[in-house]
């Protein structure tokens, strides 16, 4: 009689470990409430050393709350006020934050430590400001007391002012998204003393830069003119990433009198390609702030990068690797609906690194999608592709869970994009492919050989229909690898 409860207990335990998974066994999602009538337009997010969540709202205020288990019961207080469209934030400690707002990079300090900031220091206002509503500027700390700042371009949907800050360029003013004021469309470096150095150019609306734990600098950009689809770039000093308006501020590189009217081949030759192309609509429509996943507190994806979608209810996951000395890799969805809202602009991990806070906003840019949500790791790895790597002949997929040996579906197609002055761009030369071989290397690893593997920004879109040994379907089913270079060894 004693054996039966024991057996039931064992069965129950088994089902929790390897049985059918619900989404909530892997990640839960909750929406967090702000004080009554406060517009939840999240411009920037971070945590301070007291474990409090710091939220810079786009109208003016920086609010702080200790995270509560009940997402409706955060006790908010105001830390700072008066900021114009706060866009990026580095929380230095409990008493200090650095915020890139519309007009400047501002250090905000609570000098008397009464909980309310009383000192707003201009760290840098060397980049121009045309008055156009579209000119936001994200930041990422450089690890040495300075910052990389990303002053975005202006939109033809808005004007410039008669009186602007910085220099005005008549040539830079032309086109769809334009760089009429100094260093718009650049990433600039501001050192600890506030000295600004232009770093790299060619961006349209790089609404998110990241200096990761490995010392690499990254930025997404927004699909549009000169961005056929959402790109994700590895940034290096001196490089040009494709949007020519910013070249009017390049004193070293002479691209004729009018960089907007150069032969496409010339722009193509100057451009550093994206490490990852995120096919439009399928994957991402507007890249938000990238963030690196903690090593082992947030599921099986430690070290990879998440890239939220400001214009869709999803967060992409990037699987990067170095091939022939350059970064390239694949993208998929970490979250695609399932309770996640749109407007996914900013992200921050909680101090225990188990929860990802997601700040949302679209106000003034598109359909309202304002809010704050959090995604918490619940301990059970979903059935997913953990990594997708390029091999000499195709791709190697490593799964998070053992794969059922029964045959599944591997739908593969390949295409490319050409950036141009047009808004976005179609998939070009779409070709359906059939993997020549599908090899099971281990219970979690598959290798696909692909006929005629091509380099030079070729996207390989793999759609999978597979189950794990417990019958779980895939967490995400579409994986797109951008082959810039082939693996020769």
């Amino acid at each position: 009689m004693r054996a039966l409860p024991c057996l039931l207990l064992t069965l129950f335990a088994c089902s929790a470990v390897s049985g059918t998974l619900k989404r909530e066994d892997s990640y839960t999602i909750e929406s967090i409430a702000f004080p009554k009538d406060v517009p939840p337009e999240v411009g920037a997010l971070g945590f301070n050393d007291a474990g409090e969540l710091v939220v810079a709202l786009r109208r003016s205020d920086v609010l702080i709350a200790k995270p509560n288990e009940d997402p409706q019961k955060f006790s908010w207080r105001r830390f700072a006020q008066g900021l114009h469209n706060a866009c990026g934030m580095h929380v230095v400690n409990q008493h200090e934050v650095v915020i890139s707002q519309m007009a400047e990079l501002t250090r905000i300090v609570d000098t008397d430590q009464d909980g309310v900031a009383d000192f707003y220091e201009n760290l840098c206002s060397e980049f121009g400001l045309s008055g156009n509503y579209h000119e936001t500027a994200h930041l990422t700390p450089d690890g040495k007391g300075g910052y990389f700042v990303a002053p975005g371009t202006a939109s033809h949907n808005g004007p410039v002012f008669y009186n602007i800050r910085g220099e005005y360029s008549k040539i830079g003013r032309r086109g769809r998204n334009y760089s009429a004021a100094s260093y718009r469309g650049w990433v600039v470096h501001v050192d600890a003393k506030g000295k600004m150095t232009p770093w790299c150019s060619g961006f349209r609306m790089h609404n998110g830069v990241l200096f990761d734990r490995n010392g690499n600098l990254w930025a997404g950009d927004n699909q549009g003119d000169w961005k056929a689809t959402t790109p994700f770039y590895h940034l290096e000093q001196g490089n040009f990433y494709g949007h020519p308006s910013s070249l009017v501020w390049d004193s070293a590189r002479k691209v004729g009198d009018d960089p907007l009217h150069q032969p496409l081949e010339k722009i193509n030759a100057l451009r550093t390609p994206a490490a990852v192309l995120l096919p439009h609509d399928i994957m991402n429509r507007s890249a938000g702030e990238p963030i690196q996943i903690p090593d082992d507190t947030f599921g099986p994806y430690g070290g990879q990068i998440l890239l939220p979608d400001v214009a869709g209810n999803r967060i992409c996951r990037l699987m990067l690797e170095k091939v022939d000395g350059q970064f390239q890799g694949a993208c998929t969805h970490f979250f695609n609906g399932n309770g996640l809202g749109s407007g996914n602009n900013r992200v921050a991990f909680s101090p225990d690194k188990r929860t990802l806070y997601v700040g949302q906003t679209m106000r003034g840019w598109g359909k309202l999608a304002e809010g704050l949500q959090r995604i918490t790791w619940q301990g059970q790895a979903p059935f997913d592709v953990k990594t997708m790597n390029l091999t000499k002949k195709g791709f190697r997929l490593e799964f998070t869970r053992p794969l059922a040996k029964t045959s599944g579906r591997f739908d593969l197609q390949t295409y490319r994009y050409q950036d141009s002055a047009n808004y976005g761009g179609p998939k070009l030369d779409v070709t359906k492919l059939k993997p020549t071989t599908i090899k099971h290397i281990s219970d979690k690893v598959i290798e696909l050989d692909v006929p005629g593997l091509k380099a030079g920004g070729q996207v390989y879109e793999l759609k999978l229909d597979l189950k794990d040994t417990s019958g779980n379907p895939l967490w995400a089913d579409t994986f797109c690898y951008t082959v810039n270079r082939l693996r020769t060894r």
């Binding site: 003016s60 007009a103 707003y120 220091e121 201009n122 008055g131 033809h156 800050r165």
Partner: protein, 358 residues
Amino acid sequence: MSVALRVMFAWIACVLLMSTAGADEDYITYNNRPVGTADKPLILRTFYPDPGLGREVLANHGLGQRARNYRPGKGDVAGFADPIRGIPAAIGVNFGPTLSYCWDTTECRLLYAWQGGFLDMKNYWGGPKSGGRKSFGYIPELAGPLVYLARGSHPLALIDQFAGQHKPRFKSMRLVKNIPEFEYEIGDAKVRLCIVPGKMPMSIEKHYTVSGITKADYSESGYKFKLQRQNDRQFVAIVQGRPDVGSGNSEPPPDYKTDKPNAPWGKALYSELGCFACHSTDGTRGHGPTFLNFYGNSRKLTGANDPVTANDNYIRESILNPAAKVVDGFPPGYMPVYPIADKQVQSLILFLQTLNFE
């Protein structure tokens, strides 16, 4: 006597205002007309309107120019896109109805000041449900009439330096008991400036502390001002604003006589005494009832069952003893006493009669 009284009553009005406004929550909400108070001013960086500032005031700004029209899918098309008037990088501060000002971080200079409300943010922030900005006209609007608009070159003259030789550099904003103090540099000079409402109606106090040079001077074109010096490098400039400073969009000063009561004189008094800060003439609700269709109409009073008619006697009493009758829905003790001559009262009454359009 009347000046001294006015100063006193303005002060009383300020104290009363402080105790009535500025409740528990300070958050910026969906309310597109946020306001601060005298002891806790509201600070807001945003795009600010340019109400007609001259190029000499905005000397350190780049010049935006006309561009070819652009259409998606077509590129450059016929026609031109002109720039709009706006200030890109200013800081605005509101002390409640007594004073709002716009201080610019590029020029390091007070650009303009106004009274009444602060800003109407609707063009920029949109409605709570729509959230859309007004496409080519998203600059917020001033919610009250201008009393100061900067003219000419920078008012601070720094001895040892040529005027206009150095570009000003904005360093910081510090809050001292909630009141902003700006720090900026011009050449070797470090300047700290705190701007607060003055004691006279429409006046502005600018508290300067300068270091790094031997002496600083102050001059202001187009406005009366007084300097209260502590030493060569520390002083208060009290600038007397006035109601007719608006640029292109304001009416010319009225031409009136003062030998006997008349409506133009009343109109001038409405501006000079600062009535406009609380009483609109277009039906807009302010801190006091609007004067549109006011004269001769019935008023419901706080704490009284029977309404009264806004006739000559009622208006006279409301100017000389405003606490006697308070219109329902407006705060008591808000309006200061205006001990003005009977000819002036009568002129105001004649002016109010011109605002009846029913």
